[in-house]
Point group: C2
Chain length 457, copies 2
């Protein structure tokens, strides 16, 4: 022992990094191996004997079979099932007004003014008792950030051609001072009215003329063009414009309006986000409700809570407090302004893209922070907590390997590796809007509770 410590040491540290750090502090060459023993044993069957692997395989097959298509647009009240005139949908798991965060409240107040139900946000605030709030996910819909959908908003209609189910999402407003980031005011209402009065009917007519547009193919292409289809949608937006262009030209008789529509979409590289999201939702819904499956079918946040649903326990939310985002901020803002993680857009990660496809989107580093090497590492790490790999969505930089698909609560608990999420950052106060974008890990407790529910089946 004396001999050992009298010669130069090279240390390999396995487990807690603190040991490596203290040795390193003394100038000893140290390699830290980031390893920990499995937190929980591997469960291959539920308590009643159902094979979890077989159930998960079934879930993956349904995900891979999904064919999300744009089939049309409509007003929320006309097309989203069970939406009364006093229902306001929001992102994430269920939440009452009392516990809603600033941006969700801001978006709801703004939506009430937009709907003509109140003259201003102050008056709108007195009406909230008359309203019914529900998660978008309870109505086959998804909403980025605050995710507010009010009855007269136009929405995309996405149909999974294989299973016939439909999903819905509003049209993307752009960045900055926009409703989904909790902003309100004349600029916000005017843009929403232009979107409903000009953009919506023109897009609706073009889609009706062109016929269904294949979103899985478009997402697959966009992943080959530097998008991860969550926080970077420049390629997806470009491909959508290419696909719609001829039909827009043939159906829009007012060429000035046509030019405005093209300019609006060209001016907003996130326009495709509101298609990447319902495409994911339409793909995931058929994988819900498979007995014994530990595949996650929903991850969503309302700005207060983060919540998941698992295929084998469909309809049941497992929630935890929403985490803070590690982000890059717009000039004039910092982390003190930031609301916790918010929005349904983590449906993209749930469906195998977004942060999970970061390896194909190195340019996103300038938007959410980090390096190209981090982006590769993120995708590689996510493989360890996914049950399978995608067959249709691939990453050229990883030699066309499929993206990580099918988040498995078991693997998250065994490895202790939490899903990485990309996201925008809203100001924590109502009425202001976007302040940045970044990345974070989903909170542990949701997965622990879902796992607990599974192991006690």
């Amino acid at each position: 022992m004396n001999k050992l410590f009298n010669q130069p040491l090279s240390i390999i540290n396995i487990g807690l990094p603190r040991f490596a750090e203290s040795v390193q502090a003394q100038g000893v060459p140290t390699l830290h191996l980031d390893w920990s023993p499995p937190l929980v044993p591997h469960y291959s069957h539920t308590r009643n004997g159902t094979s979890i692997d077989a159930a998960n395989q079934e879930a993956i097959e349904r995900l891979l079979a999904g064919r999300p298509m744009i089939v049309g647009l409509g007003l929320a009240r006309d097309v989203i099932p069970n939406l009364t005139n006093h229902t306001i949908l929001h992102a994430g798991p269920p939440i009452e007004w009392e516990h809603m965060c600033g941006p969700t409240r801001g978006a709801i107040l703004g939506a009430l003014v937009y709907e003509g139900l109140a003259p201003d946000p102050e008056a709108a605030a007195t009406m909230v008792d008359e309203l019914h709030f529900a998660p978008c996910h309870h109505h086959h819909a998804v909403g980025p950030m605050a995710g507010v959908i009010s009855p007269s908003m136009p929405v995309w209609i996405i149909e999974n051609a294989t299973y016939g189910n439909r999903a819905y999402c509003t049209l993307n407003e752009g960045l900055g001072k926009v409703l989904r980031y909790g902003a309100y005011g004349e600029e916000v209402y005017q843009r929403l009215h232009w979107m409903a009065d000009i953009l919506y009917p023109i897009l609706a007519e073009a889609v009706a003329f062109s016929g269904p547009i294949d979103l899985r193919s478009m997402i697959a292409q966009a992943l080959h063009m530097g998008d991860e289809c969550h926080n970077r949608n420049r390629a997806g937006t470009s491909l959508l414009l290419r696909a719609l262009g001829p039909a827009l030209a043939r159906t829009c008789t007012n060429t000035e309006y046509l030019a405005q529509v093209l300019e609006f979409i060209d001016g907003n590289d996130h326009f495709f986000l509101n298609l990447a999201m319902p495409a994911a939702k339409a793909t995931l819904e058929p994988a819900e409700g498979i007995e014994g499956s530990t595949i996650i079918t929903i991850m969503a946040r309302n700005g207060t809570d983060f919540g998941i649903q698992v295929s084998g326990a469909a309809g049941q939310w497992f929630t935890a407090p929403a985490a803070q985002v590690d982000g890059l901020y717009l000039p004039g803002y910092n982390e003190d302004d930031a609301n916790p993680d918010i929005g349904d857009s983590t449906i993209t990660e749930t469906a195998g893209y977004g942060a999970f496809a970061m390896a194909g989107a190195p340019a996103i580093a300038s938007f959410v922070g980090g390096t190209a090497q981090d982006a590769i590492a993120t995708t590689l790490e996510m493989y360890t907590i996914c049950f399978a790999e995608h067959q249709h969505l691939t990453i050229p930089a990883l030699e066309f390997r499929g993206t990580p698909l099918g988040l498995d609560v078991r693997l998250i608990m065994e490895t202790g590796i939490l899903p990485k999420l990309n996201t925008g950052i809203a100001h924590k106060h109502p009425g202001i809007g976007m302040v940045g974008a970044g990345v974070l890990r989903a909170p542990y407790q949701s997965f622990a509770d879902a796992f607990e529910a599974i192991t006690t089946w």
Copy 2:
């Protein structure tokens, strides 16, 4: 010595790979280090004392200052300087009819029929003595593949806003049976006439309305979206459509024609190639004629010869036989059908993109062959023969490192590393068209001769 060879060996081989191969064949672990001594000494000054480094630095500064912009479209006869009605431009260095390859002859014969000068290719073949053939490069133009420009073809006009010089290129026809790959026939003529009669005036009016369009910015974005702007132009084509869309809508009164134009461009992911090329040409011309500079300002092939020009010996071609392409072939074709390397499109590599930016375009592997790792390796290798790195064109996957810029004949001779080129492959017989795409090295002799010319200045 006996002791050495009686223990397990691990070999590091430096230099000729044959040694490594024979040891490896005997099952001995072998690491081959690809190294060779400098082929020639490093020259820092020309014979008359001019600093080569200073001259090259000046060339790089001019390249970096270049701002290629789309400023309009016109007919070749009206806008390309010194083009008589009997001049036919072609790709690559000068060549007489007798030595022209099949695809160049095919494209010329097809162009004569398109111009209405002959009823069919056979009749056109009897007219070639009446024509004047010249390289595109002698008229500030570039042409992909056969690169044929005849007087009534519409061309893009690209102006370098910093230096005022202009470059020209035809509009891209698409892939397959097209004139630039040496094809002729009714399908080819009809497409060319539609392009001149419908596409050209509509694009010309839109560009006139929109004002100059910044190609350097568009190329920079496309490199962040998986294009290398030579053999992959899906992102560039998308971004061009986005940029032109509103102006097209505002200027084109015939919405059916507008739809056809949008469809034609959407249907051809290579449409942007014919902008990436003249953008490179417009950027490189101001770097010509710097005394003592060993920076290459032109690489081009006519399908028979490969040729380069070097800044310090402007106007002088250094040629070598065009090489065969290592490619992927369309169904029904193989390397026996392939014409040697052809076209002016290597102007993209000369300007720091194309194969030099492969690291940012891993998806191109499905078009030209190779792996994503090969793509990274190509870019890294090209840094060793370039004088500088680009400041405006960057590669996210390499942590936003600038692309290799300024091919230096000295470095090519010192290292023995020849420039890698991406390219399409034309059938060797006239009248057929595209048979594949691939990669290759530029031939050694051009660089050796240019180097010789420099060292004897």
